[in-house]
Symmetry: C2
């Protein structure tokens, strides 16, 4: 899609589009469904209280971001997942999360340690506050 830089500088427009695509529950549900395998438009539309063109639109959004690609099987246009844009978004988030958990950890850091492996000591002190 794009030359990956070692310094992991992501195109803002691409992140806009990816996060925007993920900001809709119907589209996230479509992605969830696609994790179990390709599906046609009608198959994707079935669970939703929504018309087929609406689903086609959602698919087009996902396709434009590159989260899905489409095949051809006679009249059908099967949809399948693609990993790359999701990975970019994940890396962006990961970087921020790590960075500010390191800096602002405190209670939030404790919560995360509880659900992950307890490799670090819990923190105690709250950072400065201006009342």
């Amino acid at each position: 899609m794009q030359p990956f830089s070692y310094t992991q500088s992501f195109s803002p427009a691409r992140l806009d589009a990816t996060f925007g695509a993920l900001a809709d529950p119907t589209r996230r549900a479509i992605l969830a469904r696609l994790m179990v395998g390709e599906a046609t438009v009608l198959e994707l539309a079935l669970p939703f209280a929504m018309t087929q063109p609406a689903i086609s639109k959602h698919i087009k959004v996902l396709e434009k971001v590159g989260l899905v690609t489409r095949g051809r099987d006679a009249q059908r246009r099967p949809v399948r997942l693609e990993a790359q844009p999701m990975r970019e978004a994940t890396e962006w988030l990961e970087r921020y999360r790590k960075h500010w958990e390191a800096n602002f950890g405190r209670l939030d850091g404790l919560l995360q340690e509880m659900e992950a492996a307890p490799e670090r000591k819990p923190r105690k002190k709250m950072p400065r506050r201006k009342p």
Copy 2:
């Protein structure tokens, strides 16, 4: 609405809002700036070609999602980061990324290794993507 409930350990509305908040480059830049430390509204507004009320609006969006909180220092309302919503979004993404890299990895997985390694291999032909 959300037929595949095994994916829904997070509140859809919250994910909508979080991803939606991240889908704007100004807001992401604000978050980036806040990683250095808390800042006032005017400090945040300064680098942007945008009026102060516009920045206030962006802050309100971030605040509503819980990505930032606000303090009080005389007339100033300092803004600072909060980690929790970002973590939810990251976890959602991570789950998907892992799942379908396991299923669809192959070439995509190779690309990721190339990115992670200091040395980069010369490019190979990429058969399944089209521009």
